[in-house]
């Protein structure tokens, strides 16, 4: 197709995907004096239009007609639970909700903004040190990231300042300074803003978690607790807990987004060229496949064009990055039979279950109030914060109340306690009681990587451009189910301390396969992971392709296994980390940054 394609004037850098990672990379590359074209297949979007109150807070359009999400009619994935099955298309939005359009999912995410636990970055080494190599279950591809927390710390700090993150620190430069998460690593500076207020359910959870002997803390939230101006000069307003967060552009300009925090500045830069409605078909490589020469895409008129560039940075959503590598022949595709090859390897998800606690009918939990990133968590069973030895599983879960706002249609669908019919008068009574008097507690767990869980190209189904869909082979594994069940029992301890009228502990069940019909989370990861060994990672520790040195791939695709935390904070830090090494080393002397 590239032979016939119209060739455009070459630029220094082409960036594929206009979300957080793309906007950060574009900002950094233009600061370095490079010309940048950012290609986004969805429409152009801004908070002023998509977030305009009150039309924007329409639950039906936002959460049930997926106004700001990926257009599955053009492109989706196929899914199966194991490699003996025929994978079938993910035809309707359900289990995960990828974004589309300028700002990506960053326009309408919730805002939970974490730094990864240091132990998670060297998970394989840490588990072997503590429990011995025999502790790692057969078939689990446990790996290290190849980068340390100390190396990433300046970039976590930078991302928090750009995002205007609200939080309570625990330790700064080795000194205890606040009531933050006692398990969190030392920081170089405060959060740019103080923590958000606790909503009532989070306040109750904090008290009960303390009584149960755990260590609650305020979730770090990229929802501004006060008016804020970030280092780029972008302005945020204070979060008013409107309750319309996940799925919505923030009409208060309180939730960090590329559209509010980076793009207003970037759009004015003479070296920056944003092209919306442009779907990238492939990265073009030179004759020996060692160097990218640009990308080929369809423009808004459906014409196929080639944009030559010195560097290509893939910043699409996790699985789109992996698919584009497979379609372009960048890196060796993963072979699950031999456990060899790297593109598609270590595909992971997030292991979340939500339990419900009913309080006395005199207590109104006001679930319509919420801030997407706000809430209270405890990390006593996350990462390596507890002794896994007697428990016999790898991984963990933070536990939290993260009330982003429960709206009316969602409440109706959630219904009443277990055993309540789905309709009729009994449903009505149970649903109203649940909405008014309950609260939700999540175990937001890690998901380990396994040899037979991976991504490749589907042999049957194609997208609107005639290219094969990506195929997901995924199921829950016993290790991860046991982890979930252990941590959810701790939620039971908290509910007891809360004086619950009724508790429904939701746990993963052994033998129950991954169900694509129920929303779980959009925190997909892995598939083109970073690391120190080209035999087990597609990217080096600078997120540079081992095989094609002028291709960098930024996103949650780089996570070798899942973590208990939400991915965006880590993705943003990795973007700044990669950009730093591109600016300080690569641009002066293009070539592999790791040998």
């Amino acid at each position: 197709m590239s032979d016939d394609a119209r060739r455009l004037k070459p630029v220094d850098v082409v960036i594929v995907g206009g979300g957080w990672a793309g906007s950060i990379m574009a900002k950094e590359m233009t600061e370095a004096g490079r010309s940048v074209v950012m290609l986004e297949r969805g429409p152009d979007r801004s908070t002023a239009s998509e977030g305009a109150y009150p039309a924007s807070i329409d639950e039906l359009e936002a959460n049930f007609r997926y106004k700001l999400f990926q257009d599955l009619s053009k492109n989706t994935v196929t899914i199966r639970n194991n490699s003996q099955q025929t994978a079938l298309p993910y035809r309707r939005m359900a289990a995960f909700l990828p974004g589309e359009g300028v700002g990506g999912a960053g326009l309408h995410w919730s805002g939970v903004h974490f730094r990864i636990p240091p132990d998670d970055l060297r998970m394989r080494s840490r588990v072997i040190e503590k429990y011995g190599a025999g502790f790692i279950p057969e078939g689990m591809n446990l790996q290290d990231y190849g980068v340390t927390y100390e190396e990433l710390e300046p970039f976590f700090d930078k991302a928090e300042k750009v995002f205007g993150t609200s939080g309570e620190p625990y330790m700064i430069n080795g000194k205890v300074v606040g009531k933050g998460n006692v398990f969190s690593p030392s920081r170089s500076d405060h959060f740019p803003l103080p923590a958000l207020k606790d909503v009532y359910t989070a306040h109750l959870f904090r008290k009960a978690a303390e009584e149960a002997g755990f260590h609650p803390y305020s979730l770090p939230a990229a929802n501004a607790s006060r008016q804020y101006v970030n280092p780029y000069g972008a302005q945020m307003g204070p979060c008013n807990f409107c309750g319309y967060c996940s799925g919505y552009a923030c009409y208060m300009y309180s939730k960090a987004s590329p559209n509010v925090n980076i793009l207003p500045v970037l759009r004015q830069h003479p070296l920056f060229d944003l092209r919306a409605g442009c779907h990238v078909l492939k990265v073009e490589l030179d004759a020996d496949g060692r160097r990218a020469t640009g990308v080929t895409y369809t423009d808004p008129d459906g014409k196929v064009v080639t944009q030559p560039a010195e560097m290509v940075i893939l910043t699409a959503f996790q699985f789109h990055n992996v698919r584009l590598m497979l379609l372009s022949g960048i890196g060796r595709p993963y072979d699950p039979v031999r456990n060899e090859g790297v593109v598609g390897r270590n595909f992971v998800y997030q292991n979340v279950t939500t339990s419900t606690v009913w309080l006395d009918r005199g207590v109104e939990t006001n679930q319509y109030i919420g801030a997407g990133g706000g809430g209270v968590a405890f990390d006593d069973f996350n990462s390596e914060n507890f002794d896994h030895g007697p428990l016999g599983f790898v991984g963990g879960s933070p536990v939290w109340v993260n009330q982003a706002g429960v709206r009316a249609i969602a409440a109706a669908h959630s219904g009443g306690p277990p055993g309540t019919p789905r309709w009729g008068s009994a449903w009505k009574a149970g649903m109203i009681d649940t909405y008014r008097h309950s609260l939700r507690i999540d175990a937001h767990g890690s998901n380990m990587a396994y040899r037979d869980v991976y991504l490749d190209l589907d042999p049957t189904w194609k997208d609107a451009y005639g290219q094969p869909l990506l195929r997901m082979t995924f199921d829950w594994k016993d290790n991860d189910i046991r982890m979930n069940r252990y941590v959810v029992d701790r939620i039971g301890d908290v509910a007891k301390a809360m004086g619950a009228r009724r508790v429904n502990l939701t746990k993963r069940e052994f033998g129950r396969p991954f169900d694509t019909r129920q929303y779980q989370t959009t925190h997909l990861g892995g598939g083109a992971v970073m690391g120190s060994d080209p035999g087990t990672s597609a990217l080096n520790r600078y997120l540079q392709s081992w095989d094609v040195h002028n291709v960098f791939v930024i996103g949650a695709n780089a996570f070798p296994q899942g973590t208990g935390y939400n991915p965006t904070g880590m993705v943003a830090a990795l973007a700044y980390w990669a950009a730093h090494h591109i600016r300080t080393t690569y641009l002066a002397s293009p070539g592999p940054l790791a040998g």
Binding site: Y53, P54, A55, I57, D58, E59, L60, F64, R65, Y66, D71, L72, S73, T76, I79, N81, Q85, A87, L88, P89, Y90, R91, R92, M93, A94, K197, Y200, H203, P238, N240, F241, C242, G243, Y251, V363, E364, Y368, I369, A408, I409, A411, A412, H413, R422, W423, G424, S425, K428, A429, M431, I432, Y435, R436, W461, K462, P513, F514, D515, T516, R517
Partner: protein, 231 residues
């Protein structure tokens, strides 16, 4: 979409303004029989008269009027569903609808070649066929207990409608009924904000800066819609 619906909302707002003095008392106005001037009956654009009769009857069994608040008919849920049938969603425009359509295990999700409009057309025909076979009358003419039996049969996939599992039709209907009762009235349902009022959902108020730490207190303001209608 929605010209008729918007005109209706506008007349409701005038009505509500007249009732402003008692609007904040927390009673469900939507279940109140009084209306200054009843709107002209809605004429469905997608559903045939036989389908419309089914829809009204089925919606009111899924959300019946009771002591907790209005039923789906009073909330104009059938009108909402008919209006939705004119949106891209109903044509499957947001779904991946490329062949081949291969059936697999339930947990791998929806794999039929039918958009919501097809599901309604075929599903309602299937429900009425079962009603006629078992009871000699269309669904809408049956006693509520018999209607509930048929709905439960569909819900539990015990009825056969050609190549559409009856539970697929039921789930489509139930999802749209919930949407109609609890979405913003701009879409044609939730009339008088009756769905939100019975739930205790303030709608588009969307500013709790001063209320977030009033722990345990009852929020005193009634619901408000995107168009400014209050309850």
């Amino acid at each position: 979409m929605g010209i008729g619906g918007l005109r209706f909302i506008s007349s409701r707002r005038q009505f509500m303004r007249g009732l402003a003095g008692i609007a904040a008392c927390g009673t469900s106005l939507a279940s109140h029989p009084a209306r200054s001037r009843p709107p002209a009956p809605y004429v469905p654009r997608f559903f045939t008269s036989a389908e419309w009769a089914f829809l009204i009857a089925a919606c009111d069994r899924l959300i019946p009027a009771d002591e907790n608040g209005p039923g789906a008919r009073a909330l104009d849920v059938p009108r909402f569903i008919d209006m939705q049938m004119d949106t891209p969603y109903a044509f499957g425009a947001q779904w991946y609808m490329h062949a081949p359509f291969v059936q697999g295990p339930d947990n791998l999700g929806y794999q039929l070649p039918y958009a919501p409009r097809d599901l309604y057309r075929r599903g309602i025909a299937g429900m009425n066929a079962h009603a006629a076979t078992r009871h000699g009358r269309p669904f809408a003419d049956l006693a509520p207990a018999l209607q509930d039996d048929l709905l439960r049969g569909a819900e539990n996939n015990r009825l056969v409608f050609g190549d559409i599992p009856s539970s697929v039709f039921f789930d489509q209907l139930l999802a749209n009924v919930m949407e109609g009762a609890f979405s913003d009235p701009v879409h044609g349902g939730n009339t008088g904000l009756g769905g939100w009022t019975m739930l205790g959902f303030p709608g588009a108020r969307a500013d709790f800066m001063d209320w977030v730490d009033r722990y345990g207190a009852h929020y005193p303001l009634g619901s408000v819609s995107i168009s400014g209608e209050t309850a």
